[in-house]
């Protein structure tokens, strides 16, 4: 599979490699700032180019870190990067509970010691009809699931972030029900494309991108990829997740990228790739149809949107 991480680096080695990448990114950011944003993603980090699909171009570090939806820090796209400075993403632990043989609290640093971090270049398609291409670093969620051994009656995985209104100014208002909750069916959760991400472009995740640990499910709308995960719970029924709770008519549990099922208020047939002038047609399952369509083969996707 060509979009897969071909380059696999142990985490320790990865940490030293990061210093090298940082300096190269610093120069590319300077280059971006001074160049025209319509120059169609001129400079590409060659390190990632062999993993890029045809016709895809990496979005810049600046684009990925300053245009975000993370309502815990405010509803404007620039809010997460400007308001997340007080968020304490270290130390961090993840609470594992529910229908699982090894429940408990896992320290993130401990977890990462024994895990190999991979590069994954994924398209990210927001439900608002814009998209980016992002070089993530992370590991398959499946690895963690295998470690904690859910019971056979665990059919879904529920994720929760933290409730810290003093650090997350957006949580001081009830725009959504806090803390943010997301979920996946077990077969979606163990799918090899589903990752927990710890970084992007060789940097640790910034707070606005969901530091220190976030989900990335590339064939679903971006809001499914919950940020700053604090709890992973194994459950036997479909979890109530934040956006369907807020508006069940507009947002469903599955929220697979699907150009033929429109959002009630706008089309999902096309999207604006950030940095490009012309809209692109949206691809079924965000272009990962071959890998994931079997998960939904007997389902009516207009009903389970």
């Amino acid at each position: 599979m060509k979009f897969f991480g071909s380059e696999i680096t142990p985490y320790k080695k990865y940490l030293t490699r990061r210093q090298f990448i940082q300096s190269s990114i610093a120069t590319s950011i300077v280059a971006t700032l001074s160049s025209d944003s319509y120059a169609m993603h001129e400079q590409q980090d060659s390190q990632y180019s062999d993993q890029l699909s045809q016709n895809d171009f990496l979005n810049t570090y600046e684009e990925i870190t300053t245009y975000n939806n993370f309502y815990e820090f405010g509803v404007e796209k620039s809010d997460p990067s400007s308001n997340s400075g007080h968020f304490k993403s270290r130390p961090w632990s993840i609470n594992i509970d529910g229908l699982v043989q090894k429940p408990g609290v896992i320290d993130l640093e401990d977890l990462l010691k024994n895990i190999t971090i991979e590069d994954r270049i994924y398209r990210l398609r927001c439900v608002e009809a814009w998209s980016m291409v992002i070089p993530w670093q992370g590991f398959p969620l499946q690895l963690l699931i295998n470690k904690v051994q859910p019971f056979s009656n665990a059919k879904y995985v529920q994720f929760e972030t933290v409730y810290r209104p003093e650090e997350m100014p957006g949580q001081r208002r009830n725009i959504l029900q806090w803390p943010y909750v997301e979920g996946l069916r077990m077969d979606e959760a163990v799918h090899p494309l589903t990752i927990l991400s710890t970084g992007l472009y060789g940097h640790d995740l910034l707070n606005q991108n969901g530091a220190p640990l976030r989900l990335v499910v590339p064939w679903k709308y971006g809001f499914k990829s919950i940020k700053s995960i604090a709890t992973i719970r194994f459950v036997d029924s479909e979890p109530q997740t934040t956006w369907p709770l807020d508006n069940p008519r507009e947002y469903g549990f599955y929220s697979n990228v699907n150009p033929s099922v429109d959002h009630p208020r706008w089309t999902q047939a096309t999207e604006r790739r950030i940095g490009e002038f012309f809209r692109r047609p949206t691809l079924m399952f965000n272009g990962y149809e071959e890998e994931v369509s079997h998960l939904y083969k007997d389902m009516d996707l207009t009903k389970y949107y």
Partner: protein, 198 residues
């Protein structure tokens, strides 16, 4: 103290330039790609909100000019109304040209299918009679009585514009609700004033 018509009329060119300048600024920023990560969306948002604000300003002027000492404000209401239409046109053109690049089939489908775009488009149409009857000659031609009736359309346009804004926001509806609140207050004020006067 009465605000003199002379002062109001003299300040017209300055107000005109003041109202025009945001669009120039955004246009320049857009060309220089200084309008953020998603410049088309940003431009469309700014132009649309500016149109809505100017529509509200015309309502405020209508209410204020019922007071004798502020009656002279009526002299700039037409210009502000026309500037509101200018921003509506810029907003609409951004949608057609920059967002969908003359993909008419898509745009027409969008207008028919998406309520929030339908409302935006209806508002654009409703604005046309106001603009067409804005010259002195046209006011005379259609008679002042009819002209006044035509311009009551603004009381449909203003809430519809807010609804257009409300429907496109995702979770935080505060901003469109603030606009709606202001419009309702202004309508109440007008209503109250009319009753008191009678």
């Amino acid at each position: 103290m009465i605000l003199s018509t002379k002062i109001v009329k003299r300040s017209k060119p300055i107000i005109f330039l003041l109202l025009l300048s945001p669009s120039m600024l955004w246009g320049i920023m857009f060309i220089q790609s200084n309008l953020g990560i998603n410049p088309i969306e940003k431009l469309m948002d700014e132009l649309g909100q500016m149109a809505l604000r100017l529509i509200i300003v015309t309502l405020i002027i209508s209410s204020l000019s019922q007071y004798k000492f502020l009656r002279s404000l009526q002299n700039i209401r037409r210009m502000i109304g026309l500037m509101a239409f200018y921003y509506v046109v810029c907003h609409f053109l951004t949608y057609i040209v920059l967002d969908h690049f003359f993909n008419w089939k898509f745009v027409i489908k969008d207008i028919v299918k998406r309520p929030f775009i339908t409302f935006g488009f209806i508002n654009f149409i409703l604005f046309l009679p106001l603009v067409l009857t804005s010259t002195n000659a046209m006011v005379k031609k259609v008679t002042f009585k009819i002209w006044k009736k035509i311009h009551y359309l603004i009381y449909i346009i203003a809430p519809l514009a807010t609804l257009h804004f409300y429907l496109l926001t995702k979770a935080d509806k505060t901003e469109p609700l603030i606009y709606l609140g202001i419009i309702l207050l202004l309508l109440l004020w007008r209503f109250y004033y009319k009753i008191i006067r009678k």
